[in-house]
Structures are given as C-alpha cells and as structure tokens.
C-alpha cells in the first residue's frame, strides 16, 4: 500500500515513514500543502494522511482542491484540533477519517488500513464470512459452524464492524466511533467488556478463537486456521 504523509513536522514525518515501512507499506512525505497537493495529483496513492495545519496551503484546502478535481483517494486527517466541530469541518472538506494529535501509531495504522480497504469496492456485500463464522447483514443472522448465535443489536453491530475489517486491527476508539458513534475516549475499559461478551458468544464453545486481542492496539477478527 502506498501512503502519502503530508506533515510539516520533519520528525513526525520520518517516524511515520519508518513505522509505515516496518508495517509493510510504502510511504512518501510532503512537508507542505502545495507539495502535498502536487504529489497527490501526479502520483497514485492508496491513502493520504494529511495534517490540518500546514505551511503554504492548509490541509482542509488541500483536500477540498483534490476532491474538486474528482480525486477520491481516502484521506485521514491529523489534527491538534480535536473538538467535534473541528472533526465535522474536516469530514465536510472531504476527509474520510479524523485522528486527533497526539495519537498512538497503532491507532493511525489501523485507521489507514481500514481506509485503504474501504476504497476497494465491496459495497454490495450482504454477507461476511470469516472461517466458519458467518454474518448476514440483511437477516441479522449469525452462525458459527452452522450453529445459530443470538446477539444483542449492539453486539451484532460490533461484530459486523469487526468482520467488515476482518484481518485488520480495529482500535477501541474506532469501535466507539463506528458502533456507538461517540468521538471521545472513555476512561474505563467499556469496549473491552463488550468485546469479551461478544467473544463469549462467538468463541467460547469453539476450538479456534476467531476474535483476537492485538496487544497495545485493539482487536482483530481473523480466521484462526491460518
């Protein structure tokens, strides 16, 4: 995956390039808004990571210009401005996700990967399957190895989001944002408890676990067979 990081702080940019490379991706760096816009237009990237406050041209304007030109490359905004209305501004300008500084690298990676995946067409999917776990988005039916699993509505949405991002790390914040639509960090481990309840339903009576905890990052649904 090719990622363009538009970030004016050189150390942060280097850290992201190095980390993304270690995670198996290719990262290009632009130090200001104009350079970022040029690179984004003339090169092909899977995801753009754009700081909101940049020299030459700010991040909002960069993304707006890009979108006006018909470019649909997914954009993750990075910003020190973390209030809800800043987030709304960012998303309205054409951003696909918004991450408030300071952030954990694992959070950024998870979001970048989720964005890259979202860009590939999979809209029509009405069924998700991971190993022997199946989820029908229309009938809200969940089975594992043919056995019916009864889930609460919220548990269903939790599983649905995890399965949509199967094979990728999903952070607690991402879950809170997408399943509960809350954009703040709780002090307590609320998400963990919900996950453990879900795990009790889909993993407990089966040999291979399918819902994994990724230490220091979040959770991942993955077929245990490989």
């Amino acid at each position: 995956m090719r990622v363009l990081v538009v970030e004016d702080d050189a150390e942060t940019a280097q850290f992201l390039r190095k980390s993304l490379r270690e995670s198996g991706h290719v990262a290009e760096i632009a130090g200001d808004g104009e350079t970022g816009l040029d690179l984004a237009r003339n090169d092909d990237f899977d995801v753009l990571v754009v700081d909101r406050m940049l020299p030459e041209r700010n991040g909002l304007s960069l993304v707006e210009t890009l979108r006006d030109g018909g470019d649909r490359t997914p954009v993750l905004f990075l910003s020190a401005l973390g209030d809800v209305d800043d987030r709304v501004k960012g998303l309205r300008a054409g951003g696909d996700d918004y991450l408030t500084k300071p952030y954990a690298y694992s959070e950024l990676l998870a979001r970048v990967e989720a964005l890259a995946r979202r860009a590939t067409p999979e809209e029509a999917e009405t069924r998700y399957a991971v190993g022997d776990l199946e989820l029908d988005r229309l009938s809200h039916k969940v089975t594992r190895a043919g056995e019916d699993i009864i889930l609460q509505p919220r548990e269903f949405r939790l599983l649905e989001y995890l399965m949509k991002n199967a094979g990728q790390v999903v952070t607690r914040t991402m879950l809170l944002e997408h399943v509960w639509d809350y954009h703040f960090d709780p002090q307590t481990n609320v998400i963990d408890v919900h996950i453990s309840r879900l795990r009790a339903k889909i993993d407990k009576n089966f040999e291979t676990p399918i819902l994994h905890t990724v230490r220091g990052a979040g959770y991942m649904i993955r077929d245990g067979a490989h």
Binding site: W180, Y182, T188, H194
Partner: protein, 505 residues
C-alpha cells in the same frame, strides 16, 4: 483651563448651549412681537383720536368762525390732562393753546413726531415727545393738535430694557444650568472613561460606578460591568488553565522524565527497558487524556465552541450511555439502572457528543467512587473519612443498614421541578461529597482526598459543568442519602414540542 476646554468640547454642554439659544430666541421673538403689536395698537388709537379732534375743531370753525375756534381751543387746552393745542395767526403768533410755537418738524410734513419743552413740576424745562397734526385754518392761520406720547415712549423704552435684561438673565441661568447638567453627565461619563482606561492599563477587576438610579448611564454601566465580569471570568479561566498546565501537567511530565532517566542510568536488560517504555507510554497516554480534557474544558468555558445543536431525545442518549456501561458495572458485580419518570419523551437542543461525554463522565465517576460504603470488598481498606461519614448517616437515621447495602447506580430521567426543563440524575451509593465541597469539586483539577489514590485527572466534573453551562443548563450536586446525586438540568428544546407529541405513542 483644561476643565473649561473639556466643558466646551463636551457634547452635553454644546447641546445645552444650542438649546438655550433656541429657547431665548423663541421667547425673545414672542415678547418682541407682543411689544410691537401693543405699540402699534396705541399709535393707531392715537391717530384716530387726533383725526376725530381735528374733525370736531373744523366743525367749531365752520359754526363760529375763528372766534369760536379760539374759545374752543382755549377751553380744551385748559382742561386737566388735556392734549396739546396751538392756534396761530398768519404771522405765526400764538392766539390760543398750551404750546408756545409751531414745532418746525410739523411744518415740513403736516404731521408727525416733534419735541417740545414743558415746565416740569420742579420748574425745570423738560423736553417731551409728542405726535400731532397741523391744520391750515384760513389765511395763514394754523392749528396744531397733538398728544404727548412721552410716557408711552418711556414705557416702551422701559419694556425694552426689561426685555433685554430678562433675556440676559434667562441666558445666564440657562448657561449655568447647561454647565451644571453637562458637568454632571460629563463626570459620570468621565467615570466610565476613567475606568475603561484603567482596565485597558491592565486592572481587570475595576468596575464602573453605578449609582442605583437606573437611568440610561446606570444601565449602560451595569451592562458594561456585566461584560467586564464575563471577560474577567474568561481571563481568570485562561490564567487558571495556564496555572493548571504548569502544575498538574508538569508534575506527571517530570515523573515521566525521571522514569526514563532512571532506566537509562540503571543499565538494565532488554526486559526492564521494555517495561519502562511501556509504563512511559501509559503515562504519556494519561497525560494526553488530561491535556485533551483540559483543552476541551477551556474551550467549552470560553464558549469558543459553538454547540452543533440538534434536537435530540434525552432518553435516547441516556439509554445509549447506559447500554455502553451496563456490562462494565456487571463485571464489577454492580448494577447500572435507568429509571425514566418522564410522562412523555422530552426533547432538548444540544450536542449529542458533548452530552454523551458529560453523562459518561458522571457514570464513570459513579463507577469509580460510587460503590457502597458497605461494600468493603470493593473499597479495600477504606479511609477513615468514609467510615466517619457512614457513621454519621446512620446516626442521623437516613441510612438503614439494609438500604445501604444497595450498591447500584441509577440514572433517573425526570421533569425539572424548578424550571421547565428535563433532569438527568446520576445517583450512586458511595461516600458522596460533603456539602461544603460540592461547588469546589466542579473546578478543574480539584479532587477529594480519598479519590487521589485512584486514577483520574480531576477534570471530569469540570467538563460536565462546562457542557451544562454551554447548553444553558447546570450541574447540581446533592446528597443521595447516601451517596452522590449529580443532577444535569437541561432546558427543553425551544421548538419541536409538536414533534414530541406526534412521536409519543
């Protein structure tokens, strides 16, 4: 001198002068008009008298010739308070009358004003003014008929003088009044100017004097004072934030630094480095959370953040948060319950994220501190503080041991009794907050002694209070007998009352 210059520069004084000029001119015009009209009337009457006299004398002459005329003139001239008469022959010699010679002024124009000398009471000669006509009788004989108008003229002159003096006095009084009024207003506005000057110079606690009269300047001053109070609040908030950053963020940063430094010095193995680094990341995360909370409180309090307002059902938000937290409570062997006392769905105007966060903070507080004082297993060793509190409650009789054993947390939805609003009450069974601490704990970084040992930034309630203020509501802490009762009081949605009715089953 500057006081005088200032006086002339002040608009109140200028207006006073202008007003004075207009009123003096107007009253002067009215009085002058009356005066001239009266004078005119007198003159017309005089002329009529003269012409009727002339007519009468002509008749006498026609009846009895010059002889009868002479007799008549003599008679009339002798009468007390008589007019002025003179009959002369062709040579200008006096035949009869009380005037000694024909006034030369009259000879030229047959009639008009003339002066003549008369013996005053003291014997001196006095020049007097008269108006009269000359009638040519026959063969050069002349008859002068006139009236003394000296008194009338004196009266007119006196009136004029009085008028002028009057105008002068009125002008003087008006000027004095203008000076007084403008100095009064000047002083009061000057007080405002002075105060604002001092505020510009940095003394934000200055207030404009208000005299309690409730007049325009008072109202202006009151409003300015309110504005100043608000600004001062904001400035104080800013200062507090920077103090907070200095104190409550520097300390953990320093701790973090010390830990890393200690690890470097210790020359440990890979394992211990790793442990230190992980602890460092945890500490950094906690710092970041504190920092974010602090920033958001500051921004909420400054009102910098516009509430992205939507009309939402408060019950829905409560249910969502309860659903999010119920499992955590169950894991801890406790319970989170929602009791909805609303007769029909209540809508409020607000930001779902902020209200959700505020409610979350209260629920997390209840989770952290709100376990029953009778559940020693959860509380651990327990502080002397809470034991004392508990004993007191039992003594007062509000707490039966059976009731105290309930250690659940409730979120109650209800109508506000005091205002037309909705309340969301998070009640716990913990040690509560002593009455004299209830306002203080809403401030930034204020934590009760017994919560110090637990993780937390001391910003949770500040966030809730700020969110409530931003929504036009308030956060009230009270006694839950036992425990803490945190009440969020929201005003109802301004519109959408119909929608509520439509949606209610």
């Amino acid at each position: 001198m500057t006081a005088l210059t200032n006086l002339f520069r002040s608009w109140t004084f200028r207006w006073a002068i202008l007003y004075l000029l207009i009123s003096v001119t107007a009253s002067g015009a009215v009085v002058s008009y009356l005066f001239w009209q009266t004078n005119d009337l007198l003159a017309v009457q005089l002329l009529q008298t003269l012409s009727s006299e002339e007519k009468g004398l002509r008749e006498q002459y026609a009846l009895g010739g010059i002889g009868l005329l002479r007799e008549t003139v003599r008679e009339r001239a002798r009468a007390p308070g008589a007019g002025i008469y003179l009959l002369t022959d062709a040579n200008g010699r006096k035949i009869a009358g009380n005037l000694n010679r024909v006034p030369p002024e009259l000879l030229e124009n047959r009639g008009g004003l003339f002066t003549f000398d008369r013996q005053g009471l003291d014997g001196a000669k006095v020049e007097r003014l008269a108006v009269g006509r000359i009638i040519r009788v026959r063969r050069g004989a002349l008859l002068v008929v006139a009236r003394d108008i000296q008194e009338q003229r004196d009266f007119a002159l006196t009136s004029q003088r009085i008028l002028l003096w009057g105008v002068a006095v009125v002008a003087l009084i008006g000027l004095g009044g203008g000076v007084l009024v403008s100095r009064y207003i000047f002083r009061r506005i000057d007080a405002v100017t002075e105060t604002s000057r001092r505020i510009v110079d940095g003394n934000l606690s200055e207030r404009i004097p208000v005299n309690g009269s409730g007049d325009e300047i008072d109202r202006l001053s009151t409003n300015l004072n309110d504005m100043l109070a608000r600004i001062e609040d904001l400035m104080t908030g800013m200062r507090e934030v920077s103090d907070n950053i200095a104190h409550d963020l520097k300390t953990p940063l320093n701790r973090l630094r010390n830990r890393v430094e200690g690890a470097l010095r210790a020359d440990g193995d890979k394992q211990s480095y790793r442990a230190t680094l992980e602890a460092t990341i945890d500490e950094a995360d906690a710092l970041i959370r504190t920092f974010n909370a602090l920033l958001s409180v500051a921004r909420l309090e400054a009102g910098a953040r516009s509430v992205s307002s939507e009309t939402l059902s408060i019950a829905t938000v409560v249910d969502e948060v309860a659903e999010l937290y119920a499992p955590v409570f169950e894991e801890a062997g406790r319970e989170l319950r929602v009791r909805n006392h609303l007769v029909m769905p209540a809508m409020i105007d607000g930001d779902r994220q902020l209200i959700g966060q505020a409610l979350t903070n209260l629920v997390e507080n209840a989770l952290k501190y709100g376990h029953s004082v009778h559940a020693p297993a959860v509380r651990g060793a327990g502080g002397g503080e809470s034991e004392k509190f508990e004993t007191e409650l039992i003594e007062v009789g509000t707490l039966s041991p059976a009731r105290a054993a309930i250690h659940d947390v409730t979120i109650e939805l209800g109508e506000s009794a005091t205002c037309d609003g909705v309340t969301v009450v998070v009640g716990d069974r913990g040690p509560g907050v002593p009455p004299d601490e209830r306002e203080r704990v809403k401030k930034r970084f204020v934590r009760l002694e017994e919560s110090r040992s637990r993780p937390g930034s001391g910003l949770g309630l500040s966030v809730v209070a700020a969110v409530m203020r931003l929504h036009g509501g308030e956060l009230v802490l009270s006694d839950n007998r036992p425990g803490l009762r945190a009440t969020m009081r929201f005003p109802r949605a301004s519109e959408g009352a119909d929608a509520v009715l439509d949606r209610s089953p």
